[in-house]
Symmetry: C2
Subunit: 247 residues, 2 copies
């Protein structure tokens, strides 16, 4: 996908903010300066600034020059989804040990999260994930059959399932995430080495294709004290994260 | 704060998406139609669409008409911060019982999160929060002294501390959130009625004023199964939420 001009401008500003060349409180270049620098008209410059404003990264700009409000730049789509990509993005070494790769009939829960019929075939993978060699997370993934079958030709111990599926032409477009805390069950206890009932941080997520079809569902359980989920928000921008009451 | 035109356009579209008048998959009105409807030039319309795109709510728009990608509209700033505002926004009844309101000297942790000197005075509040009468969360808040002192004239059992502080002219501009899972300690166990070591979902947050001064720090611990944090993201937009490795 070729980035269009307003995306290039926004990416360049994000990078300058991330690297601290534009620290929190700093004024951004004026619209005119950005237009000149990028040989751009006002339109793309304003679209780039609007994107940064919506992300909560900059503030101001109503007559006043926009200023950097937060150096916390959100992660790209795949960094939140791919454990391997995420680990490498923070300079750590990801690892995995596949405990189970199974083609089985969907139980009620798998059927419900993937919107398939109960009893229809799904592929389930259970992997222990590592960070710099230390166990970090137990990953339970359920794939719809036509996606999951591709894994029977792949060594799940060799690296990122996510990257492999992308290389196979599987396209992910959107994802839903639910973050909560759960007590370790027998399987968690066995593989993560904590007592049953111990607290784990859970990220459930469902990734969907461009047509909205649910392709995979994750239930990832992290040992406490290793990973957290963080967010910056500002008074000017809506917050992407919602506090949700469990039904 | 008077909303400028591009914000009005964006808010109106968000509202139509939230109400399902523009369901997921639906095409938005074209730029020309929006210009005509709002008696606006292309600029504000494009800024509004760029904001929705950055939020992951719409997709497309490079030559193609933008379509609704997600009906999950982020919550306004104060809904993620104020427990009372959040509870009411989902039609539930918030409640609270103040267990302690104390002026004391900042320990190392309080000093570090509020960027004040260790030993300087801070105000700490411990409250048990309810949803429809059932205990839900134990809230530990630490305020810088000049903000916290205002609470000595307020009945913390009567409702939203957040609303009270706003009414007193305290201005919050940005906030950082860290979400993780922790084992219940003795205080949690006593007030939430769970065994020590039981899993709790924790939201830590620091709210800052317009000049960046940290004004309050929360450590909110939820009983499991009651609340989760949810997010939708899309391939087109950066994700505001980051997975973070604990140092």
């Amino acid at each position: 996908m070729v980035a269009v001009l307003h995306e290039k401008i926004a990416d360049s500003l994000r990078e300058q903010i991330r690297r601290g060349e534009l620290p929190v409180g700093a004024e951004l270049p004026s619209e005119s300066q950005l237009c000149e620098q990028w040989k751009a008209s006002r339109g793309p410059v304003r679209q780039a600034l609007a994107a940064l404003r919506a992300e909560g990264v900059i503030a101001g700009g109503r007559g006043k020059p926009p200023v950097v409000r937060s150096a916390s730049i959100g992660q790209p789509f795949d960094t939140l989804l791919s454990y391997s990509a995420w680990a490498r993005s923070i300079g750590r070494t990801p690892g995995q040990r596949t405990l189970e790769l199974a083609l089985r009939r969907a139980d009620a829960h798998a059927a419900s999260v993937l919107h398939v019929e109960e009893g229809s075939p799904v592929v389930q993978v259970l992997r222990l994930r590592y960070l710099d060699g230390a166990p970090t997370m137990l990953e339970r993934t359920t794939f719809v059959e036509h996606v999951g079958r591709r894994l029977f030709d792949f060594d799940c111990d060799s690296g990122s399932v996510w990257s492999y599926l992308l290389s196979q032409g599987v396209r992910f477009a959107t994802a839903s995430h639910v973050i909560d805390a759960v007590p370790a069950d027998g399987t968690d206890s066995l593989h993560l080495g904590v007592p049953e009932g111990a607290p784990l941080l859970r990220q459930q997520r469902t990734a969907r294709g461009p047509d909205g079809e649910a392709l995979e569902y994750h239930d990832d359980r992290y040992l406490p004290g290793i990973v957290s989920f963080t967010l910056e928000n500002t008074f000017d921008a809506r917050c992407a994260l919602s506090r949700t009451a469990t039904p």
